[in-house]
Amino acid sequence: MSHCWGMAVDLDRCTGCGACVIACQAENNVPTVGEEAAQKSRTMHWIRIERYYEGEFPNPRVRFRPVLCQQCDNAPCEPVCPTYASYHTSEGLNGQVYNRCIGTRYCANACPYTVRTFNFFNPVWDKPLHLQLNPEVSVRQIGVMEKCTFCIQRIKASEIQAKAENRALREGEPVPACVQSCPPKALVFGDLNDPDSEVSRLARSPRGAKLLSELGTQPKITYLQRDSWDGPNS
């Protein structure tokens, strides 16, 4: 049976620590852009922790929401790409083929979650970060779009390993970098095609909801939270 990779994000657990952001950056060779470009909001993070504040002093409250590519089943980014750089893989992921990308940035405009990042310049890493590049992940050139892949290199590695050992994938394998590094275990990753996996169980949870579900993008990430949360102003 083929896989359908999905994720659950438990907002009741998320502390907003940002470990997932750092883990992703290290795992996926995401460039650091420097202070100036960051001020221009040209950061390249594939996952971000959104912070929303509510309440007035002296009772302010902050809400965290990790947002990464939602790997939509009905993704607005895919059909608009003229060169099939953004396409749907057979495991249901929104693939991004860097070599096909010519940099129209159309997919980034179409993405309602604003999770796609663009290489405005050739990537550089501050020393000694250049020594820790992950050899499993290609480094992206100037002018191409990139985004969260659900750590496709780890998925493939696990699948190959399982095949070599002639067995099915076990629960908890593969594990994307963000999930692996999450201290409160707010992120859960797994196969949605397996009804007994933890992520499938959580996706059915009454606490679960999809981000911007009204757009009909059918994301594969379920956000879990106990109380209703209807945006930053309510």
Binding site: E78, Y84, S90
Partner: protein, 166 residues
Amino acid sequence: MSSARGIFVLCSEPDRTERAVNALLSAGLPMSDIIVISSEPLERYRFAELKKVRMPWLVVCGAVLGGMGGFLLTSLTQKGLAIRTGGMPVLTLWTDGIVTYELTMLGAILTTIVVFLVTARLVFRNHLPYDPQVSQGKVMVGIASAPDALRDKIAEMFKAIGEIRE
């Protein structure tokens, strides 16, 4: 070509043009053989009457060809894609329709220009005589080829009208 050369007369006024045409008609030449060269269209005059052009039908044919080409391009290449799309549709008639539409129009436009160039005898075949005085407003009337006997007769009539060009 050798024995049958053409003969033309340069007319400076519209009524002389009319006379030259009438002279040729009276010599027994059919209207379709008479050539009138001018620097502006003379459609108000009787001698400019021409049989209808079949251009629109050819253009429709070109449009159909262009449209078929467009539809085949989009549908065949998409079916031939070696890309895995995870069950997402690749062949979509709605959007193929847009490409098909544009190529239909392109087919029609290209047919128009080709039909025009061929039927107006431009670029491809051209050995009609010409005189730069036409751009100064004169009108050349005559025939492209005539047997010698007829030519002499026509030359006689043209003398009274204007300068003769052969």
